[in-house]
Subunit: 211 residues, 2 copies
């Protein structure tokens, strides 16, 4: 069993394999980095044509990150996947309320998901922040409701929930956004490592080295 | 924006959508549950024909879980994704050494990945346990080396690393296993939520209710 064991060699080889799948998509160098990390996290080149982002998403997110913005996630797996040491070097931290007792109580009382109740509890705290959703369509629908009804203005919504019930619809709604920069993936695919990868990719772009 | 907000309704509807994709695969009722959770976690029905497991994998894993076995993971995201409350109800816990300082030092000295060094440090502790790998092909190669060279005998290897460098090869090696029960996914796809979903599905099968 002979195989590549050296981390940077694995990463570089992976990026080489992904590169041809991005040809013809007219991406900026920054977009190439973000697309590549999403595809790498899923092990799935079929992500290439279904990744969607607003033209200013990466720039707005990077500016916010450099300014020390916080990140709000729907589930603990997204929090775990985000490079918190790198984020802390800019002054930011990650928040997740999925395991919060009050959130659990509210969710049960109202017959909604905990991640939806969590996003509702964060509310206006999320202004100027990055929101990273990797699991729950209900969390993304709730954030979009706040954008529309409560004038919430995050710096960027990374909305990549996964699954067969609501995920595709919630992401289609996100992709119509004109007031808030977004990064998403069309259809049923997605997940926590994909959402975390998008955030990490943008942090790594800032210094062009790993924190 | 009208959408389903009730957790059990979301889950049931998702399983209904997945069911037709499992027809013709000749699965046992237990396999249907495990397959469904993997597909659900990826939001990708193309997983159906590429999920592979030994005939006794679910039974062996369930027996070990009921007996209070521990779970060893390659990365923190797999640990995060596993239902630790449910696992604790059987007497088990999850171990991950990716953030261990000694492991980091060994990895750097030897020019190998931290997850590979972590699996090496666990060594014979993993006998009778479930190993859940959701990220690093190098971790899976290392476990297979221990099975072959050091007579390691885990109860089940859930080996679902992701990516373009080594993942497909490591999983093809796993699928040749005759001495240790395994669950895997062919090719480049996989990831931490998928590995965690396999473990959770088997725990949920034990009582047929959620812990």
């Amino acid at each position: 069993m002979d195989f590549i064991k050296q981390p940077m060699e694995i990463e570089n080889r992976s990026m080489e394999i992904i590169a041809p799948h991005l040809e013809g998509l007219n991406l900026s160098p920054e977009q190439v980095k973000v697309y590549s990390r999403l595809i790498h996290a899923a092990g799935d080149v079929d992500y290439a044509p279904i990744i969607k982002m607003s033209a200013d998403a990466i720039e707005q997110a990077m500016t916010a990150l450099k300014g020390g913005c916080d990140i709000y996630t729907d589930v603990e797996m997204v929090r775990t996947g985000i490079n918190k040491r790198k984020l802390a070097s800019f002054g930011g931290q990650v928040h997740c309320l999925i395991a919060d007792e009050e959130v659990a109580k509210t969710a049960k009382e109202q017959g909604i998901t905990r991640s939806m109740a969590a996003m509702r509890k964060f509310g206006q705290e999320m202004n100027g922040a990055i929101i990273a959703i990797g699991n729950a369509p209900t969390a993304l629908f709730e954030v979009l409701r706040q954008v529309e009804e409560e004038n919430l203005r995050p710096a960027c919504i990374v909305g990549i929930p996964v699954g067969f019930v609501g995920a595709a619809d919630s992401k289609a709604e996100l992709a119509k956004q004109e007031t808030v920069p977004f990064i998403t993936v069309e259809g049923t695919k997605g997940g926590s490592p994909i959402a975390a990868a998008a955030v990490n990719a943008m942090m790594y772009l800032i210094n062009n080295n790993r924190g």
